[in-house]
Symmetry: C2
Subunit: 243 residues, 2 copies
């Protein structure tokens, strides 16, 4: 946790904030912060800054906070992801949030097992928790939005074209002819398939909607590896320049 | 498992191979391969090709194999990595092998907990297993070499300079002034610190040995995310062009 993300409910009068539960415990046992110690904090969807521990009990930590730094620039990428296997999904969500993606669409695909959609990790509170973990890792405050689309065809036909207005769409798919473009450095929509890949029908539908099918070379990467490789290939500066 | 990696011991006369244990089980239960089915195979440090199942029992699978494809080109990157937390280490090893890194140096650092070096994942057989999993994911056969260096100073003073002969050295470290170079597309040595980063003394020693300290922006990434981001930033084509 490189930053403690505060919600509006954590704020108290007089520039104070109160942490309980996981973040209080992490502050004490992992960061080993005690009274007088400072740590990076940020307000959900707000500014970042510093919090100094003013009071510590078994159940809470009180901080005096100064929020005066803007969060890093979002990555201008809309990510359309076939729903991953639950265990990998948590890590992918955290990774995607850490990389600065703010718009995430989880879609169905032939090779997505029905059971994946039943995972408790898709509940509102769990999504928020894993996105928060990613933001706290990377030091960011802007909470990504996650859209669930359990039916592939209606999504691709009715919604995807709107996500491709004024921005290129890419479906990363092994075996296609064109290599993934380099450093487009502008808003884009990226589609990534499930384990085993999109089936040909799905690639055709994505291309029909306006995406370009591209490959990353002959190495087949897991989605949690492919996402950072693709982000780093598409953007050369949007990991937010250090100031 | 996009490819079943065979060792020399698995080969039998007449262009046959015999799989037992994990790979036999994976072939049957995950790939659902039966007699007559084909799958991608490769020989450790050798060629890749196709194997067709000729016989299947509870304990073994026999394949007729044709090995006629070269493996993908290695990534010309030497990776120097502060020993990660064991649970993350397995995944990092698999990721690094999938990306095509062939030369891996695991080094100590102030923030590497002593217990990390005790992990069973560092045993020869376990290292081989996780490297194999990465190769089988990506479809590669060339087994990376892993060097363990439990003492930072002797490594950096006595061995690292040789790894920097005729090739640039980079230490990726948050907060430095220079951004990580883009698309160097040639052999290089990349150093990545532990959770919490190298301490200033260590960065100084790495720079003294010949590395350039660079940053990746203000987002702090976990090592399993930073490695693919860095690889994709340093190399634009060496994920092996699809032929």
């Amino acid at each position: 946790m490189n930053l403690a993300l505060l919600s509006a409910e954590d704020l108290r009068e007089g520039g104070k904030a109160r942490l309980t539960g996981r973040r209080r415990d992490h502050l004490v046992s992992v960061l080993r912060a005690g009274e007088g110690d400072s740590l990076a904090v940020g307000l959900e969807n707000g500014l970042m800054g510093t919090g100094t521990v003013t009071r510590l009990t078994d159940s809470l930590a009180e901080l005096a906070v100064t929020l005066d730094q803007p969060p890093p620039a979002p990555l201008p990428l809309t990510l359309v992801l076939a729903m991953p296997r639950p265990k990998m999904f948590r890590r992918v969500l955290q990774t995607v949030a850490a990389l600065g993606v703010k718009d995430i669409w989880l879609i169905n695909s032939y090779k997505v097992e029905k059971s994946f959609w039943q995972t408790p990790w898709l509940q509102e509170a769990q999504l928020h928790e894993n996105l928060t973990l990613g933001l706290e890792q990377a030091k960011d405050t802007l909470i990504p939005t996650v859209h669930l689309r359990k039916r592939f065809k209606p999504f691709v036909e009715d919604e995807l074209p709107a996500l491709l207005q004024d921005r290129p769409g890419i479906v990363a798919h092994p075996g296609t002819h064109e290599p993934c473009p380099i450093h487009i450095n502008r808003p884009a929509t990226l589609c990534i398939g499930p384990e085993g890949g999109f089936i040909p029908y799905e690639v055709d539908k994505l291309v029909e909607a306006g995406c370009e099918a591209v490959h990353l070379g002959s190495r087949i990467l897991r989605v949690e590896t492919a996402v950072p490789v693709l982000v780093s290939r598409l953007y050369d500066g949007c990991l937010a320049t250090f100031s």
